[in-house]
Every structure is written in C-alpha cells, then in structure tokens.
Symmetry: C2
Subunit: 325 residues, 2 copies
C-alpha cells in the first residue's frame, strides 16, 4: 500500500482490515502471502474507468461489488480459488459517503468468497478502479482457453444477455416498460461463477468468462485452441426478460452482449454427467449449447439444425472474423 | 488480460511477450505462476495518474521505466526478488508512438531485473498506469516496517533529494541554471534498489523506500515499530547538485522530498560491517544517518550533535506529527 498524505490516508483507512490468511496485509511496502504448497498462482487485473465501464452516478456499493466480481470471474474461468486482491483507486475527491458504500460492496463480496484485500493504492484522479485478484489452482488443472478439443460439447452457465438488455435500456437504445431492480442488478451486480469454476476442475477442458459477448468470447477459445464450433442458438437459456423481447434484440443480447460474467466452457461428450454433477454441486444452472469441431470457424444453427443465413449473422455484428468463411 | 475489441487489441500486442518463467502469460483469463517452493509471495500495487504523478508530455519511455521502478522499489524495500508484473493502462487514444516508447522503457527495466509482464488490461480513459508487482521472499526474512529496534542504526542508500530538486525546477518553484538530463533522470528514471534489498535479507531489521520523503517515510517505520529516532542531518549524503543549493532548499529536498526510491533501513549496530558488505555486493552506496531510540519521536541533530530548533524543523513542513513533543 503506497503512502499518501492527508485526506488520502483517510481513504486508505476504508480499505485497511486485519488479514486472516495473509502473512502481512495493508500497511507495508508490499503484502506477504504464503502460497499453499504445490499450488500454482493465478493472477488477473482489470481497470474500470468512469464513463466507459460504468456510468457517472452508478451506485457505489454496486460498483464495489462489480469491480471485484469481474476479477473473481476471471479466476473462476481458470478454475482458480480466489485468495487475495489489491485495489488501486483514483477518485476526483475524498467523498466519505461514496467510499463507505464502495467499500461495503467490495468487502461484502470479498468476505462471501473468502478473499482478502491485502494492498493497493489510493490517489486523486479521474474515477478509476484497478483491481488485481490472486488465486490458486493445482498444476495442470487450470481451465485454459487453448484446451478445447474437437468433439467437446460447449456449455454456458446461467442465461446470458440480461446485462446487455439492461445496458441498452439505460443507454436509451431501447425502452423497457418493465425495467426493474432485478434486471439492473444483472448489469450492476454480476455473480462471479467461482463455485462452478472450482467444480469444473478435472471435468471441463477449456473455459472463459463471457465479458465481451458469447460469440466473441467463444471466438477467443476457438482461436487459442485451433478448432471451430457449431452453436445451437436456440439452446441458449433465455431469461423471462429476454423472452419478451423482439427476436433480433434478444439474439443481440444473448450472442453479442457483454458484462454477463457467465462461464462458457467445453468438456468431452463423455463428461456430460460429470458436468451436470459439477453444476449441481455449485448450485449453478448450465446448458449445453453446441459442439467443438475440428474444422475452423463458427456455425450458428437454428432449432431445426439449419445454419443461420449470413445476413442474420451480420445483423448481430461485431464477430464476423469468427465466421467459417 | 482482459479482452477489448478493435484498436485496443493492437495496444495489447505491445505488451504481449512469451513468458520464460510463468506457466501461462498474457492472453488467458488469468496468468499462471509457479511459486518457488517454500517462498512467500510479496505483492504491491501503485497507480500513477497524469497531471498528478507525472506531467502531461512526460517522455513515455521514462514513464514506462518509472511506473515499473516504483513497484520494484516497494518489493526491494521488503527484501523480495521481483518475478512478475501486471499492467493496467488507460489511454485517451491509441497512440502507437507513445505505446512503443512506453513499452520500451517498461520492458528494458523488466528484462534487466528478470521480471515478466504476465497480464493486465488496456482501456480508453484518462492516462492512468496501474502496475501490480509480484515477488518472492523466504519466510521470516522480509524487511518489514514494524521491525526497527531501539539501538538499531538508521541507514539510507544513495543521496536523497535530487528528485525533489528536479521537480521544483520543472514546477517553477525555483530555477536551476544548471538543470540537465542527469538531474531530470533522477526524477524520471529512478533506480529501484532491488539488489540492495536482497543483500539486506538477514542483515537489516526494518526497511522502507523513500517515496514520500525521508522524514515522512522514517516516521512510518517509527510508528509501525513503536520506537523513535535521532537523525544526524548532516550525515545524509549530499549530491553535487544539492550541495550547490541554499541550505533550506537543500534540506527540504533531502528531508521532505519524495520520489527518490532510495532504501531507508535499520540494522543492529553489530551488523555495521555486514551492512557495508551487503552494500558493496549490491554496488549501492549507503550511509549511516542516525539511530533508533526507545523513546518515541524524532530528533534532528546537526553536525555538532545539537538538536535542531523547532522553528527550523517547522520550516521544512509536512512531518510535525513525527516530532518528539
């Protein structure tokens, strides 16, 4: 934890709690962690900028939750158990109400997932949140993007698309008469699928979290693994909110919407039962939505098994470099 | 490494290099590190904001160096060997010249210190650099702030104050006719004292890096350790640039100037020779500048051993809560 004079010492106090697992927490030049013997260390960092990743005026408690959730989601997508986080925070002014709410949201999630804030930095500047999350995974058990194999089934957790549906409403792209706090929470308070990621160790091959959109993130897996996929679009679980939308909007949200932080993963066909048991153990719904193919490219199939016309795929936009031609 | 579409994929490419030590580097949801068995993990994060920590228009190569140097300095002050870093970077626009120079400065230092960039994030936003550095230290050998003991000698590396002298010139607080690139480099390209930190394992008790100013940082050690100190102000090594300054300016720079990233450390009197051998092994000059006292507070002594008048101490400003009364 860096040292800053005056009011920013006050800010730092919002984030200083005695560690229970770390050897040394906030307050020295660096924190000290004792890795579990034999485990590998998974580390990830994200930066959220006001006006780009969140609206000015976003509920600071929700923001504290989300800033940590997106990092825990990255660890979940590796099958890593989160242990510690560092928070670097720039704020335009020392606002103790904002800080109290932000830290409440962050610590509520941190404590629920048994992850400790061990260090970081606070400074004056345009509102920016950068979190580094640290976790552990046994050697060889991480769920990497390059591990999808031809013949694998493709799975997704939850029902992607609600976050994009809420974002479109808040941006004024469309108007939802039924917009409510539950739908807002799908955007602002995503659930990192930590338990599912842990349960999928030794079961799944590849995994990624859906932060950019299902097709885009699947594309990352396909490229890293050197494979292709067929996706049964109508097999993607659809929330009640999305089911009520026009088809194009619904598909845009499900296929190209980001910010859901669901897990997209592949597993051998023979692991079908094991995937369902892992999902049940993690109390997380999952659905099989496609297959990995040896041939490169991504084909979208409708309920009858027919490929989507290119024009329909184009209408969704943003992922044409993942297509089969 | 988070995923961002379009131009920011280009940016990410500036920072993607194959890891040599990490199990998995940039490009997945998280990086994977294999900790050295039996070692503790030291982690630190800093955030640098344009206009606050560096001037707009600062040489991006120097900035790439400094952004990493301040974090390596934190690890040095723990006696930790740096192994990996994560970079979260917000930029107002995709400027490939700026990125090429910034990454050149960052990687030059990273490679010189054998530390790998393993992940991070790039996004559009006000220019902000947040680095998390990870290192290793044997259990019980970290140089903590709370480990100073009454009777310890107080030491400092290098000659603190030049960075503040350069900053004052650039800010227009004073005008140095002899301002040159060497003095500018003392502000913009600090040398993290990594080798010294490693050599001081098992020799020094407490350590901190001088980022806020010598007195302020010594105050952190005194408070954490529950001790006081006497400081022989005239024993602080003085650079040629500082020796040419008026007394008050020189002392302000030496005692209250930040950004030097020298190590301030304490060691038992009996370790005097061991400290000098460690410094020689690290090719880093050190000087003994005072003693830790059981009595709380900080006394500044002149060359004749007389305490500085309070008025002189007050004139330096910014650390009156560390004084003996």
């Amino acid at each position: 934890m860096s040292k800053h004079p005056g009011e920013f010492e006050l800010i730092a106090r919002f984030f200083t709690r005695a560690p229970s697992r770390a050897v040394l927490g906030v307050g020295d030049d660096a924190a000290l962690l004792a890795p579990t013997p034999g485990m590998q260390c998974a580390v990830t960092a994200d930066m959220l900028v006001e006006g780009r990743h969140f609206f000015a005026g976003t509920d600071p408690e929700a923001l504290g939750h989300k800033a940590l959730a997106v990092n825990l989601s990255d660890l979940a997508a590796m099958g890593a158990r989160p242990t510690a986080l560092l928070l670097a925070l720039a704020l335009p002014e020392s606002d103790s109400d904002w800080l109290a709410a932000f830290s409440r949201g962050l610590f509520a999630l941190a404590e629920a997932r048994d992850v400790e804030l061990v260090g970081g930095d606070t400074t004056r500047g345009p509102r920016t949140i950068s979190i580094t999350a640290i976790g552990e995974v046994p050697p060889g058990q991480a769920l990497r993007r390059d591990a999808a194999r031809a013949g694998d089934a493709v799975w997704v957790s939850g029902s992607p698309g609600d976050a994009r549906l809420a974002l479109g409403h808040l941006r004024g792209e469309w108007r939802l008469p039924e917009f409510d706090s539950a739908l807002r929470a799908r955007l602002e308070r995503p659930t990192p699928r930590v338990a599912l990621g842990l349960a999928l160790r030794g079961v799944a091959n590849a995994a990624i979290d859906v932060s950019d959109g299902l097709l885009g993130d699947l594309g990352h897996v396909l490229r890293a693994s050197g494979v292709g996929a067929e996706l049964q679009v109508d097999a993607i679980p659809t929330s009640a909110a999305l089911a009520a939308q026009p088809t194009l909007r619904r598909r845009t949200c499900q296929l190209a919407g980001g910010d859901d932080y669901e897990l997209l993963f592949t597993a051998p066909q023979s692991a079908h039962g094991a995937v369902l048991r892992a999902a049940a153990a993690a109390a997380t719904p999952v659905a099989r939505i496609g297959s990995i193919t040896a041939a490169a490219g991504l084909r979208l199939l409708d309920a009858t098994g027919n490929a989507w016309p290119d024009a329909d795929v184009d209408a969704l936009g943003g992922f044409d470099h993942f297509r089969s031609r």
